[in-house]
C-alpha cells in the first residue's frame, strides 16, 4: 500500500466527528476501527466497493475501474441509485487488465482508457478507482490522473481505495476523501442564496431523495449539492458555498462534514430521513441552522407549520393499517436504515418489535432504542442465519425486515420478508416513505400465498430434498404448526 494511502487511512481513523472514536484512548484510536476479518466467516464488500457506492451516484461522471475484470465485470449495474439527468454513471468502464499489465504495470492502459472515454463520451469528469491487483503491482493512479487532467483539461479524479485496504465502510470514507482532495471547492456556483444546503451521505436509492426534496422546495431551501445521490459533478465541486451541511444518519462520509466545517466554516448536523419524528427533527435542524447562518427567521415558523400538516397526514395514513397490523411481530435485521428510525412508525402501526439488530449501531443508537422500546428491548448483536431461520420457523416473528442477503432465510422458512436495505424497490424516505413502509408490510403479511405455501403435501414427503446433510430438527412439528396457522388456529388447538 502506498505511503499516501496509509496516511489517508490513518487520518480517516482519527475522525473527530465519530463518537465511537471519542470514547477511545489515544492508543486505541491509532489502531483504527477496522477489526481483522475472519477468513472463512467473513461477508460484505471491500473498500473499493464502498468507494464506488459512495461516489457512483454522481451521475454525469464516468466511473472507471482500474483492475482485472472481477471488480467491475462482476459488479456493475447492481444498485438502484436514481438520477434525474445523466445516465452515464450506469455504464461500466474498466481497464480489464491482462497478464502483461500485471507484469509491466497497467498505467499506460489506464491513460489510454481515460482518453478513450473522454473522446467517446465527453463527461465533465472521470473518477478512476484503484483495485487490489493494480495497487499490488504498484500502479500510481494519482500520477496518471494528474497527467491526464493536465493533458486533456478535464478533471480526472483518483479514488485510492483498493479492496484489500479494508471493508466497505472504510471505502465510503476514502471515496469521500477523494472528493475533499480533488473536487469540493474547485468550482464556484453561479449564484448563492441564504437557503443553500448540502446533503451528505444520501444516495437517492429508489428515488428517496425525491420524497424529501419537495418539502425543502416548499420551504424555499435549495439543495446546492447532494453527495452523492442524483449528483452532478459541478454541483459537488461548488458545495463549499452552502450555508449548512446535513449529514444523513449513516456516518459513511462524516469526514466530508467535519472537513468542510474546518475549511469553510460550514456547520453540520446529523439527521435522518427515515421515521416521521426524525424527518421533522431534520427539517427543524436545517431551518434553525440556516437562520443562525443569516437566513430570515420566518423560516422557523413556516417549517413548524409544514411539519404539523405533514405529520398529521402521515399518522392518519398509518393509523389506517392499525387494525390489520395489531400484534404482528417484526424481526428487524438491518444496519442500513437505522435500526430505531423506523421503530416508531412500526409501533404506531400497532406492531411489536421482537428483535432489532444492533450490529452496526453506536452506543447512542442503543440508548435510543431502549428509550423507544423500553428496557426489555430485544437487541440482537449478531444473529446467525440458522438462528433467524429457527426464530421464523417457530413463528416467534411474523415478518422479517432485512437486507437482500438474508431474504432466503425467511422465504425458506415460508415467512414474509421485506427488503429495507439497498436493493429495495420501494422508497421509504420522509413522511411519504414511512407510510409506504407500513403499506408494504401490510401487503407482505396479508398475501394469501403464505397460506398456500404452508399447506403440507398430502403424501407427507414435503420438504424432502436431495441429500441434505442433516434432517430437520422436528419437521413434523413444524408442518403441524404451519398447517394449524394456515387454518387460522393456534397449534395447541389442532385436533389430533
Amino acid at each position: 500500500m502506498s505511503v499516501s494511502l496509509k496516511a489517508k487511512i490513518a487520518e480517516v481513523f482519527e475522525e473527530p466527528g465519530c463518537d465511537k472514536n471519542q470514547g477511545k484512548s489515544e492508543k486505541e484510536r491509532k489502531k483504527g476501527c477496522t477489526k481483522q476479518l475472519n477468513p472463512g466467516a467473513a461477508a460484505g464488500g471491500c473498500a473499493f466497493d464502498g468507494a464506488k457506492i459512495a461516489l457512483q451516484p454522481i451521475a454525469d461522471v464516468a466511473h472507471l475501474v482500474h483492475g482485472p475484470i472481477a471488480c467491475e465485470g462482476n459488479s456493475w449495474d447492481n444498485r438502484h441509485s436514481a438520477s434525474s439527468h445523466s445516465q452515464i454513471y450506469r455504464s461500466g468502464f474498466t481497464t480489464d487488465i491482462n497478464e502483461l499489465d500485471v507484469i509491466y504495470g497497467g498505467e499506460k492502459r489506464l491513460f489510454k482508457s481515460i482518453r478513450e472515454i473522454l473522446e467517446k463520451y465527453d463527461p465533465p469528469a472521470i473518477f478512476v478507482y484503484q483495485t487490489c491487483v493494480t495497487a499490488l503491482v504498484g500502479d500510481d493512479i494519482e500520477a496518471v490522473c494528474q497527467r491526464a487532467s493536465e493533458k486533456f483539461g478535464k478533471p480526472v479524479i483518483p479514488v485510492n481505495a483498493p479492496g484489500f485496504a479494508g471493508p466497505k465502510n472504510l471505502g465510503n470514507k476514502l471515496g469521500a476523501e477523494a472528493l475533499l482532495d480533488y473536487v469540493i471547492g474547485t468550482v464556484e456556483p453561479e449564484f448563492t442564496t441564504p437557503y443553500d444546503i448540502n446533503i451528505i451521505g444520501e444516495y437517492n436509492l429508489v428515488g428517496e431523495l425525491w420524497q424529501v426534496k419537495p418539502l425543502l422546495d416548499a420551504l424555499g431551501i435549495r439543495v446546492l449539492s447532494c453527495i452523492s445521490g442524483d449528483g452532478r459533478y459541478n454541483e459537488v465541486a461548488s458545495a463549499h458555498r452552502a450555508k449548512v451541511n446535513m449529514m444523513v444518519c449513516s456516518k459513511s462520509m462524516i469526514n466530508i462534514a467535519t472537513k468542510m466545517e474546518q475549511r469553510w466554516g460550514i456547520p453540520y448536523f446529523e439527521g435522518s430521513f427515515y421515521g416521521i419524528g426524525d424527518m421533522s427533527d431534520t427539517l427543524r435542524q436545517i431551518a434553525k441552522l440556516l437562520v443562525q447562518q443569516g437566513a430570515p427567521d420566518d423560516l422557523l415558523e413556516r417549517t413548524e407549520r409544514l411539519i404539523e400538516v405533514e405529520e398529521a397526514r402521515a399518522w392518519k395514513r398509518i393509523a389506517h393499517y392499525k387494525q390489520r397490523l395489531a400484534g404482528k411481530r417484526v424481526l428487524l435485521i438491518t444496519g442500513g436504515v437505522k435500526s430505531w428510525s423506523v421503530v416508531a412508525a412500526l409501533q404506531e402501526g400497532g406492531m411489536e418489535i421482537v428483535g432489532t439488530s444492533i450490529k452496526k449501531s453506536t452506543k447512542e443508537d442503543k440508548e435510543k432504542i431502549k428509550e423507544i422500546m423500553g428496557d426489555d428491548a430485544h437487541m440482537i448483536d449478531d444473529m446467525t442465519p440458522r438462528e433467524m431461520y429457527a426464530m421464523l420457523r417457530d413463528a416467534r416473528a411474523d415478518i422479517m425486515l432485512s437486507g437482500g442477503r438474508s431474504q432466503f432465510v425467511a422465504l425458506k422458512a415460508r415467512m414474509p420478508w421485506l427488503d429495507i436495505n439497498q436493493e429495495r424497490y420501494y422508497p421509504y424516505g420522509g413522511y411519504e416513505g414511512m407510510v409506504e413502509l407500513v403499506k408494504q408490510i401490510d401487503r407482505a403479511l396479508f398475501n394469501p400465498v403464505w397460506q398456500q405455501v404452508r399447506i403440507a403435501a398430502p403424501w407427507g414427503d414435503d420438504g424432502e430434498t436431495l441429500g441434505a446433510v442433516q434432517p430437520a430438527a422436528k419437521p413434523l412439528d413444524f408442518l403441524a404448526t404451519a398447517a394449524a396457522r394456515s387454518l387460522g388456529l393456534e397449534p395447541e388447538e389442532v385436533p389430533v
Binding site: 476479518l37 464488500g45 465485470g73 467517446k120 491487483v133 425458506k412 446433510v469
Partner: protein, 484 residues
C-alpha cells in the same frame, strides 16, 4: 467459420465478461455439501455472491479468505488455514473448494503447497476433501474458470474403476441451466442408462424449499458420485468448455468421450439420441420421436418471425454457439457476434466474425439489427436503441425463473424458438389507419373538382376514430359540406 478478432480498446465499456473465480465458484455450486472459497480480498466474493443471488434468487454459500494488504504481501497461508478451519467448524462441508483470485495470483501464493501443510497441521480436516483451482482474474473469463474447476474436480477426486456398461458421465457446460440438466438426465435415463452429472447445479440451484437451514450447498453431485465417475462407459460433454475435463477423465480412467458442441438445435440432438441408442442397445423412445416432430412443427411456425432478421448477440463462447447457430438455422443473420474469451467453439459459428469485446461494441454494431441477444446487462443498450432484448446466459437479474428455462434437447430448442418468435411478434410494428396519408398535392388534386370530392369523403370517413392525425391533412368540414 468465424474469424476471431480482439478488441483494440484500452477501456472495456459495459463489460460482458465476468471473472474466472466466479465461473469456478459457479461450478463448485454443483457439488453437494460443498463450500466454495475465493482466496482473495473479500470484495471479490461479495460481488460474486450478489450476482449469483440475483440470478438464481437463492441463498448462495460462498466464502472468502479475507486477505488484507498485509497478508497479501506476506502470503496467504494463515488465511487459508483459518478459512478452512472456520468453515469446517461452522458448516462441516464434505468438500471445500478454493479458487484463487487476481490478488493472490499476483502475489504468487503457492496454494497447493499450503494445502499440504494444512493437512499436516490440522488433522481434523482429514475427512474433508479440498479442491484447489488457479483462476487469476486477469486471464480468461467466467467460462474458463468453470472449465478449470470441473477439471480440478476430476483430477482431485476421480480414480479408475472397473467399467459399468450402463453408466455415463455427463459434463454440462456453464451455460446450461438446472432445467437443462434435468432434461438431459431424463433423456439419458430414458435409454436405461445411469448418468452421473458433474457438476450438477440442478440439485443445488433449482430453487426448492429444504427442510432445514444449511450453510453449504444443498444438493448437487455427491462425493460418492464423483468418485464413481471412474467407472463410466462414456463421457458426454456439452460445449467446448467441457473438453478439458473429458480429456482428464479419459486420461485417468480411460473413459471414451464425446463432446457435443451444443445441444440446442435439431441435428445435434439427433446425434446424441443415436449415440445413446447405440451405447444402450435400446431404440429411441417414442416420447422423443414425438418431441422431434413437435420441434419440426415449431421450427416451421417460428421461421416466419426469425427469417431474415438481423441479430446482434453477445455471450460466452459455448452459449454464443448454441443460440447463434439455432438463430442461423432459423433464417436469422448473425450481424454482430461478441464474446468474452478465446475458444474452439468460435470456429464453428456461422458468422463472419467474432469480436472479443464488450456491450459497447454490441450497442454500436446493433443500430440496424432487429434483435439483441445477451445477458441482463444488455438492457441499457436495448432501452437506448429501442430494440427487443432476448435475455440469455448469466446473469439474468431482472427476470425470475432462470433456473427453469430450458434450451437443450428437442423440447428446450422448441422453448427457445417460441421465446424468440414471441419476442419478435410482441415488438412487431402495428399499422394504423393513418399510416399511409396522401401527400398534400395528391389531396389537393383529389379535391379540386366536385365529382372527386365524394370519393375523398368516403376515404376520410373510413377512419373509425377520426382522431387519427394521419388522415387529417385536408379540412374535414369542407369535405362534409361538399358531400352534402
Amino acid at each position: 467459420m468465424a474469424n476471431v478478432v480482439e478488441s483494440k480498446k484500452a477501456c472495456a465499456v459495459n463489460p460482458l465478461k465476468m471473472s474466472q473465480p466466479l465461473g469456478a465458484s459457479f461450478a463448485f455450486m454443483g457439488l453437494d455439501a460443498c463450500m466454495p472459497v475465493m482466496h482473495g480480498s473479500q470484495g471479490c466474493t461479495s460481488f460474486g455472491l450478489v450476482l449469483l443471488v440475483r440470478h438464481f434468487k437463492e441463498a448462495i454459500p460462498l466464502q472468502t479468505t479475507a486477505m488484507n494488504e498485509v497478508t497479501s504481501i506476506l502470503g496467504g497461508y494463515d488465511n487459508i488455514e483459518a478459512a478452512l478451519v472456520n468453515i469446517y467448524k461452522r458448516a462441516a462441508p464434505k468438500v471445500i473448494a478454493i479458487c484463487s483470485t487476481g490478488l493472490t495470483e499476483t502475489k504468487g501464493d503457492d496454494v497447493d503447497g499450503y494445502i499440504v501443510t494444512v493437512r499436516k497441521r490440522k488433522p481434523e480436516l482429514a475427512d474433508t476433501e479440498i479442491i484447489y483451482v488457479s483462476t487469476p482474474d486477469y486471464v480468461g473469463g467466467f467460462e474458463d474458470g468453470y472449465q478449470h474447476a470441473v477439471t480440478a474436480i476430476v483430477k482431485t477426486l476421480v480414480k479408475p474403476l472397473p467399467v459399468r456398461a450402463d453408466q455415463v458421465t455427463l459434463l454440462p457446460g456453464s451455460h446450461l441451466t438446472p432445467a437443462d440438466i434435468d432434461e438431459l438426465r431424463e433423456i439419458i435415463e430414458a435409454f436405461g442408462l445411469n448418468p452421473i452429472v458433474l457438476p450438477d447445479i440442478s440439485g443445488s440451484l433449482d430453487g426448492h424449499i429444504p427442510p432445514d437451514w444449511r450453510g453449504t450447498t444443498i444438493g448437487g453431485t455427491t462425493l460418492e458420485q464423483i468418485r464413481a465417475a471412474g467407472a463410466s462407459a462414456l463421457t458426454i460433454g456439452i460445449g467446448e468448455q467441457t473438453r478439458e475435463a473429458a480429456l482428464a477423465l479419459q486420461e485417468i480412467a480411460g473413459t471414451p468421450m464425446e463432446v457435443y458442441e451444443r445441444l440446442t438445435g435439431l441435428e445435434v440432438n439427433d446425434r446424441l439420441l443415436q449415440r445413446l441408442s447405440a451405447l444402450s442397445g435400446n431404440p429411441v423412445p417414442a416420447k422423443y420421436r414425438r418431441q422431434r416432430s413437435q420441434l419440426l412443427d415449431a421450427m416451421l411456425d417460428g421461421h416466419f418471425y426469425t427469417g431474415g432478421i438481423k441479430v446482434a448477440i453477445a455471450a460466452e463462447p459455448d452459449l454464443l454457439l448454441a443460440v447463434g447457430s439455432l438463430l442461423h438455422e432459423m433464417g436469422a443473420e448473425l450481424r454482430c457476434c461478441i464474446s468474452t474469451t478465446k475458444s474452439a467453439a468460435h470456429a464453428l459459428l456461422p458468422a463472419e466474425q467474432v469480436l472479443l469485446g464488450d456491450l459497447e461494441d454490441l450497442e454500436q454494431a446493433a443500430a440496424d439489427c432487429d434483435l439483441l441477444v445477451t445477458h441482463s446487462h444488455g438492457r441499457q443498450a436495448a432501452e437506448r436503441l429501442h430494440k427487443p432484448l432476448l435475455r440469455i446466459g448469466f446473469p439474468v437479474f431482472d427476470r425470475i425463473g432462470n433456473a427453469h428455462r430450458r434450451m437443450v434437447g428437442y423440447r428446450g430448442t422448441m422453448d427457445l424458438i417460441f421465446s424468440i418468435a414471441n419476442l419478435m411478434l410482441e415488438n412487431m410494428d402495428h399499422h394504423h389507419a393513418g399510416d399511409w396519408p396522401l401527400t398534400p398535392e395528391a389531396l389537393r388534386a383529389a379535391t379540386t373538382t366536385s365529382a372527386r370530392m365524394a370519393d375523398v369523403t368516403v376515404t376520410a370517413g373510413s377512419c373509425s376514430t377520426g382522431s387519427c392525425g394521419g388522415c387529417a391533412p385536408s379540412n374535414p368540414t369542407d369535405l362534409a359540406e361538399a358531400s352534402v
